[in-house]
Symmetry: D2
Amino acid sequence: MTAVLLLSCSDQKGLVASISNFISDIGGNIINLAEHVDSEEKMFFIRVEWKMDEVHYSYDELILKFRPLAEKINAKWRIELAEKKHKIAIFVSKYDHVLQEILWRHKLGEFNTEICSIISNHNDLEILAKNYNIPFQHFPINNQNKLEQEQNEIDLLKKLDVDIIVLARYMQILSTKFVSEFPNKIINIHHSFLPAFMGGNPHKQAFMRGVKMIGATSHFVTNDLDEGPIIAQDIIRISHKDSVKDLVRKGRDLERLVLAKALHLHLEHRVLVQKGKTIVFE
Amino acid sequence: MTAVLLLSCSDQKGLVASISNFISDIGGNIINLAEHVDSEEKMFFIRVEWKMDEVHYSYDELILKFRPLAEKINAKWRIELAEKKHKIAIFVSKYDHVLQEILWRHKLGEFNTEICSIISNHNDLEILAKNYNIPFQHFPINNQNKLEQEQNEIDLLKKLDVDIIVLARYMQILSTKFVSEFPNKIINIHHSFLPAFMGGNPHKQAFMRGVKMIGATSHFVTNDLDEGPIIAQDIIRISHKDSVKDLVRKGRDLERLVLAKALHLHLEHRVLVQKGKTIVFE
Amino acid sequence: MTAVLLLSCSDQKGLVASISNFISDIGGNIINLAEHVDSEEKMFFIRVEWKMDEVHYSYDELILKFRPLAEKINAKWRIELAEKKHKIAIFVSKYDHVLQEILWRHKLGEFNTEICSIISNHNDLEILAKNYNIPFQHFPINNQNKLEQEQNEIDLLKKLDVDIIVLARYMQILSTKFVSEFPNKIINIHHSFLPAFMGGNPHKQAFMRGVKMIGATSHFVTNDLDEGPIIAQDIIRISHKDSVKDLVRKGRDLERLVLAKALHLHLEHRVLVQKGKTIVFE
Amino acid sequence: MTAVLLLSCSDQKGLVASISNFISDIGGNIINLAEHVDSEEKMFFIRVEWKMDEVHYSYDELILKFRPLAEKINAKWRIELAEKKHKIAIFVSKYDHVLQEILWRHKLGEFNTEICSIISNHNDLEILAKNYNIPFQHFPINNQNKLEQEQNEIDLLKKLDVDIIVLARYMQILSTKFVSEFPNKIINIHHSFLPAFMGGNPHKQAFMRGVKMIGATSHFVTNDLDEGPIIAQDIIRISHKDSVKDLVRKGRDLERLVLAKALHLHLEHRVLVQKGKTIVFE
């Protein structure tokens, strides 16, 4: 068993010592530690991973024991057990490539997840869900029923106790209400190097502008469309020979890999959000 | 001796045959040919490079002989002798890195250019110009004299018969008049992956947004700031560890290479401009 | 309908003119032309793609009509119809990632292929083949039956009239006889940046050497193991944090994309082989 | 003032706590900490950087105070003051690009170094050294005097008390004796993605093999030619259009950046060597 602490607080002397003493005192052996001080904002960020083999506390006891220290330094923090499976739900519409990628990696054992549900406003990808034995829920959406269907989705997600919601090229904009229910829990993939080409049809925008590369960006969803904290980005080169259709094809490869990378980082508790940006302990 | 034809026109049958027959008829041997048809816009673009060893025409005769064909197909075109040195002027302010790079490559023989003048609104880089024996002209600019000084610069550039103007991190915005004098002849380097972070201080903007990569873009200057046709772009990865100062440092490497690449392409007559975009025959 | 000519011969004057005149004379409209002269070897290489809409010849007549010109210039050449589906066979062992990638792209319509058979020395991937409705043939191989089973495979491939054989992480070394039956028709993916780490377990080799990046190389198979003409290569960065297992995981992403790219290039008739190297008209 | 500890030892419980307690006890504030456990080799590696503002010990006292802990955990270690200038010597032959790059970055303040000497077996680059006011020593080398001249170089380097020797495309192979005098202190740049294309003329080798990318590798020099621990590597794409001369030109850009990166990492005390490989705390 391995535990991971993600913590941020105002910078002050002795933080690493206090935290590593705590871990040492309970019998933990640190196998990974990364720390970052933002000297301008005077903030301290840390990720520590330690072996629990000789720690004789339950998870709940661990939390209880750490709390006094965390309160003393006035920290935002969470401790997770690395082996605990994340419960995730995947939202899709009609494109299958990102979903396909996640399911394949999941099956290979790359992701430590339980995929609780694939949720869609269309039923095109039901067969793919079935191939992998994942429950598929169809919530058709139109102008009239959007908020109502979102409430049904929220109810389902809460019932399933989902940790992470992945928008795998989901072609609906989520309402403020929905987003507010899951802060820093919704991960999206946008098919441009944000902040370039926000909004609809970024490949068409990229083609019109004549850029020499296209990108993909995975980010947490906030109520400012395409402006949430960026987790991962990448680009590939294009040329005048590429039509919009070529960009769509080339973009698929990027989207799959960038979302997979972001998901990886998040599932391994490597991502902290601070003021609209991320600290990623790779 | 080697000649290069760059040509664009409406697509029609037999264009490659007509052009290659012309070259064959005058005794040229094609050593490089690249062609592009934009099937949506129904436009034809071609770059042909041929040996002139057995061509018994002067450059002027060549132009005269080609003109009837060009007029028949209603083409925009130019023929250049590859060995002819370009006359370039470089505009700088205080940053030396891009200038340094161009001068060093120039000295190594990478660029087939005569650098006629280094023009600056400051005199910080005069010593560097002297090290390389390049004339340096100082045109101090303030709110009162800007248009007047620009006119002096235009006069100098015309007198020197300059082909290409390189803005090597020149920190002034050129007036509409200046830009209009040199269409598709002014090449700029902007330190972001345009169209992200247009305008001032893109590194600060990138830092604030929390992107995971920064870029540089070399483009022709038009009267829409940072919106001219893009010639070359590249990016490098950054992380939460990088301060704005780190971005500036890392960005320097990008800017040097991206502008050098764009200049290379343009000096070898590989760039065609069409509707705000470039066709780059690499 | 679109036709593609791939041709190489000794360099001589007027080649582009002769070829483009031929296409023009039969009524074709060139939509893509790329040409390369190797001035050291004095060799000429060309790829031309043209619309057949107004060409009133069958494929066989086209071949017949072009032959005299080809013979006159003493060329190696082939003309292909772009729309004609390639018949391919895929060899696999136990790893599914490259096969998965090809099947998924095939289904998406990215590859203009008919996948005639998935051939394996194991039966682990039979289910995956079935999911995509592709015939799966199991040829178990041991020290005694290897040559015999290869003969059975050759017979099957000939019966199916297969154009391209893809080794999608096939873990057997093909015999000289097998390779000789399909010159420049077998495409392999090797999980290193060749020529580094030839032979077995390149990820382990890379780990031991402490390189800062790993690669993948797709190449035609010849009888010199891992020394065939390279079609495509790429790398990703690694660090001291990565175990061999991490390299295997990260390598999978590379292998999938690099083989897909090589296959794309070959399926679009963009690859010429010359003296152990490739000319790739991207 | 900032201090940096680089330390490695067998993995054991409580190491981070002991080290961070030490720093906390002397009044240091940790601003950067990265740690790595090699679970297979059971080795522990750490880099810690802390503010010395409130530490009331001299450097020598610091060393004395840390020694007991280091001995208790049986560590290999060093503590450095980040602000202390490194004394470096640069070996060159005739190529100027890598030297140019180092001198330019040095002047910009990117490297915290005193360049004590530029040493060469030719005098071509004496002018460049003079432009930057760096002492230049010419040690002409032939078959007869090689060992003798190397001894003169060793004597000079010792007299100058040089920390780091940079081989900036130095075209001589250093003798075993020379290398043994400066273990893990000599940094070389090799113009290939090692271990591919070891030895002489890697660009020619790359051209002959027909690879689709070329690389550069910066590594510590050991007595196994081109086999020392790798610090940094990178590649760029090439194609069939590139002659050996093009590879040389494109390679220059790589060599400059890769060596600069390796030097950066080493100058900031981010590189540990372990069993022929490096741990790089980026």
